[in-house]
Amino acid sequence: MTRESFDRELQDVKRKLFQVTGEVRKNLTASVKYLDNRDMQGASMIIESDEMVNLKCLEIEERCLNIIATQQPVATDLRLLFSILQITTEVERIGDYAKGIARISQKIGPGKLVKPLVDIPRMEEIAGLMLDDAIRAFTEDDEQAARKIPARDMQIDVLYNQVHRVLLTFTMEKPTNIEEIMMLDWVAHNIERVGARVVNICERVIFTVTGVSVDLN
């Protein structure tokens, strides 16, 4: 094997992406938990943490561009770099969704929620596990795993519809709390989007390994 420094750099960038994804994953879970616990301080920590996530994503992009400009990668290397860039964007957006949930949490403010959260944490749990599995499939070039993950997005969609219907009935029962209800609906929507982003990551994993672009949505 020649090109050792090139390989090292590639692996290093890949590891960085894995780490950032871990932080995003943590923020996502925490955002729902803090919403449920009415933890205002936790919410602002998430918002701060997302700043760091964004900076790290920018750093990954920059390093990818450097590698492309100086090493002329081809074939698998090129596909890998392209995928890292794309997945970084997806991860960065997932981070934004978590931050969005934290913002909503702040907007609703302290005090008891209009209704206890039931399906939203379940949605988050599924989406979080999907993200874990997707990024593991990526680091392990596991195409088979990547193909299986998107099916689980269906469960999120089902739960989302359920949340949506429940909240809709709530608007009729408690018209004074419409704003809060709509914000909770937005939280569910954010998590639904996370599922879609994870599916995109799975597509990139398949592309990296096979060179074929697929649409799994």
Binding site: M1, T2, R3, P73, V74, A75, T76, G211
Partner: protein, 256 residues
């Protein structure tokens, strides 16, 4: 591959005495396309290229099996002078004759019977224009070809090759002795030339193959040091999703 096929190697092997240098290569050179042969040193890509205009005939002890076809005709049965008129060649080092620019370009047409000075002048101008050199030399065609810069010399050699109106131009690492700017000029020129000529190029420079060619062939020596064709396909496929892991290793710089 839907393009028309200009040249074709069928189960072609080449031997130096008992030593097999090329092992049963079959490949199609599509018309009006640039086909690049890449591979590590000693893989036989230059030898293979030289099979298309029978330059290997000059080497004592060379024997071949299989066929090389030009427009469906076996080149070994063709008159070699006629073959080389149809299949021109540009070499690694610019090699203009120590003659004037005019005489360099007129060399081929004169061999093939054009003697009239004004006819030759027309051919010389057309060829130099074709090689994107006319504007730089039109005022001094009597100047020695050796006095030009390396890049200009190589374009002069291209003009000399196209002066006999070949169907195919073989290029054996045409830019390896040139600086990057001259190299890009040659590559640009190749892109223009492929409208009228079928081009096959050997190159050590994979990025060059990726930049200029439409099809890429990867050759590699086997355990007996005979050159084998590993993979041949559209360049963009070879450089994004090669199907053979040896191709992948080579183009991504992990060879050896």
């Amino acid at each position: 591959m839907t393009a028309e096929i200009r040249m074709r190697a069928v189960d072609y092997s080449l031997f130096y005495g008992d030593f097999k240098a090329l092992n049963s290569i079959s490949l199609d050179i599509p018309t009006y396309r640039i086909s690049a042969f890449i591979g590590p040193s000693g893989c036989g890509k230059s030898t293979f290229l030289r099979s298309f205009n029978r330059m290997n005939d000059l080497i004592p002890g060379v024997t071949t099996s299989g066929k090389v076809l030009l427009d469906g005709n076996d080149v070994s049965k063709e008159d070699v002078v006629n073959l080389r008129r149809k299949v021109g060649m540009v070499f690694q080092r610019p090699n203009p004759f120590p003659k004037s620019i005019f005489d360099n370009v007129a060399y081929g047409p004169r061999l093939h019977g054009t003697k009239n000075r004004s006819d030759l002048a027309v051919i010389v101008e057309r060829s130099l224009k074709g090689a994107a050199l006319w504007d730089e030399v039109k005022d001094d065609l009597g100047k020695s070809g050796m006095s030009l810069s390396g890049g200009q010399q190589q374009r002069l050699c291209i003009a000399r090759a196209i002066a006999v109106e070949p169907e195919v131009i073989l290029m054996d690492e045409p830019a390896s002795a040139l600086d990057p700017v001259a190299t890009l000029k040659i590559e640009e020129l190749m892109n223009v030339l492929k409208k009228n000529y079928t081009i096959a190029i050997v190159t050590h420079n994979m990025q060059q193959a990726a930049r200029v060619s439409d099809y890429t062939a990867f050759l590699l020596t086997d355990e007996n040091r005979a050159g084998n064709l590993i993979e041949f396909g559209p360049t963009k496929q070879i450089f994004t999703t090669p199907s053979d892991s040896r191709t992948e290793d080579y183009i991504s710089g992990r060879f050896g």
